[in-house]
């Protein structure tokens, strides 16, 4: 699912690289608020989790299967800044050690999955969370909507980039329509799985779900952590 080398023109690849670098720079500051000094080990383990989760197959039908993209899920579980960092690291490792996604397209992939996927998912989650009853169980349906929108949003941005700065002249409406159409279906799967995973975590440790913390009446587990 990662954009390889050569899909966008050289200037466009460099431009998305600059946008990605700026976004990651902001995320490095923001993540400190979400995870304090535990950032590196926790974000590293969450990145390992995202990496593993992207390789798990969910059977669809007739032997076909899909997998999670995980942007919205990571945003709800650990907060959007940390999620951006985790997705960035996962994408960089995939490009450099697994040849998945081109190195010149790394900026594009970070923009699509680490920025658009995470922040559209998070934005939709926050919007839905606001209108649902204020209890931890509401996090699951809200995360589901986040997953549903994050996938076609990333696909739409890719199609727009390709239409504007791709290497082939294409009618914008056709490509955007086709990409969004296909990815709405993928987004439905993402929505179901994201919601189910969040509901499973909320049932056990609601205090660990970043997006569910405002929904807790009081801290479910009193903080035992002594400042180091």
């Amino acid at each position: 699912m990662h954009v390889p080398d050569g899909f966008l023109s050289l200037p466009a690849s460099l431009a998305t690289g600059v946008v990605a670098a700026a976004g990651v720079g902001l995320a490095l500051r923001g993540a400190r608020r979400e995870l304090d000094e535990r950032t590196s080990p926790l974000a590293g383990l969450v990145a390992a989790f995202v990496f593993a989760a992207q390789m798990l197959n969910f059977p669809v039908a007739a032997g076909t299967s899909g997998h999670l993209l995980g942007g919205a899920l990571a945003a709800v579980l650990v907060g959007p800044w940390t999620a951006t960092l985790c997705l960035t690291v996962v994408l960089a490792v995939q490009a450099l050690l697994f040849a998945d996604g081109g190195v010149t397209a790394l900026g594009t992939n970070i923009v699509l999955m680490g920025l658009v996927g995470v922040w559209v998912g998070w934005g939709a989650f926050v919007a839905v969370r606001r209108v649902l009853p204020q209890r931890p169980a509401s996090a699951a349906p809200a995360a589901s909507v986040g997953g549903l929108l994050s996938v076609p949003a990333a696909a739409a941005v890719f199609a727009l980039l390709f239409g504007v700065a791709g290497t082939v002249p294409v009618p914008l409406d056709v490509v955007v329509g086709a990409m969004v159409g296909v990815h709405v279906l993928i987004g439905l799967g993402e929505a179901v799985i994201t919601g189910l995973v969040v509901s499973a975590v909320v049932a056990v440790r609601p205090d660990l779900v970043y997006g569910a913390r405002p929904l807790l009446q009081r801290p479910a587990v009193p903080s035992e952590r002594v400042p180091a």
Binding site: M1, P4, D5, G6, F7, S9, L10, S13, V24, G25, L28, R38, T39, S40, P41, L42, A43, G44, L45, V46, A47, A48, F49, F51, A52, A53, M55, L56, P59, V60, L68, L77, L85, T88, V89, A92, V93, A95, L96, L97, A99, G102, V103, T104, A105, T167, V168, P169, P171, A178, V192, I193, L196, V197, S199, A200, V201, V204, R205, A228
Partner: protein, 244 residues
């Protein structure tokens, strides 16, 4: 030759990969022939470094979803059209699809080459020396160190599910699989907390400087050979009006 390539510091190899990929991507879509030169250069490095054929073949399977996207282009691209077997296809779309696939394949093979001559720990040192923010590299280090552990946990959960007679064959299996993914997250997160506490207990006081070794001028020159030659191929072809 093999030792020379493998012994180059990782920062040189990463820079060489990025430079080569940029040179490949810079070629316009109608100058497909130029990529033959890139392919020869890359093949020389692949042979010199003795990259296993299995790794190259496995890399090709990663591309499959984007092959579908490329095949869709000749049908929708604008501009003059040609008849192929009675189907009207856009010339720009055909040239574009071919160009995309060749560039993507060259980039992928170059990345496989880097991965097969660089150990993950060396790669992390190389990234630190390329001034990638320390925190980002540290997250990558923790990820690479624990990705096997997290993967093993997932396999153990799969064994446990199978032992209880669970078969994943349709979306009906999603709730059970999703609960396992939730459990996997909890285990990964809690392990992250334990790792942090263990690190503090050992007297951790902030990230350390870059490890690895600095590259010598000679090593930078050796590493620059591939991207420089690739850029030369792109530039001579373009200046000669080959693809204009």
């Amino acid at each position: 030759m093999e030792r020379l390539v493998r012994r180059l510091p990782a920062q040189v190899k990463v820079a060489a990969l990025v430079g080569f990929a940029l040179a490949v991507v810079a070629v316009p879509r109608d100058a497909l022939a130029l990529h033959a030169g890139h392919a020869v250069l890359l093949a020389a490095v692949v042979l010199a470094a003795r990259v296993p054929g299995r790794a190259l073949a496995r890399g090709l399977t990663v591309e499959v979803p984007f092959v579908a996207f490329a095949l869709f282009l000749p049908f929708v691209a604008t501009g003059p059209r040609v008849e192929v077997l009675g189907v009207s296809l856009a010339q720009a779309g055909l040239a574009g699809a071919a160009s995309l696939l060749v560039k993507a394949t060259l980039g992928m093979l170059a990345a496989v080459t880097l991965a097969s001559v660089t150990r993950p720990a060396e790669l992390l040192d190389g990234l630190r020396r390329l001034r990638i923010p320390a925190q980002l590299v540290e997250i990558g280090a923790f990820m690479l160190r624990y990705v096997e552990v997290v993967g093993d946990e997932w396999r153990r959960m799969g064994v446990a599910r199978a032992a209880r007679g669970f078969v994943a064959a349709s979306p009906a299996a999603w709730p059970a699989l999703s609960r396992s993914v939730g459990a996997l997250f909890l285990r990964a997160y809690e392990r992250g907390e334990r790792v942090h506490l263990a690190r503090l207990a050992r007297g951790y006081a902030g990230p350390t400087g870059a490890g690895g070794v600095p590259a010598t001028a000679a090593q930078w020159c050796a590493g620059a050979a591939l991207p420089a030659a690739a850029a030369l191929v792109s530039a001579t072809g373009l200046l000669g009006g080959w693809g204009a």
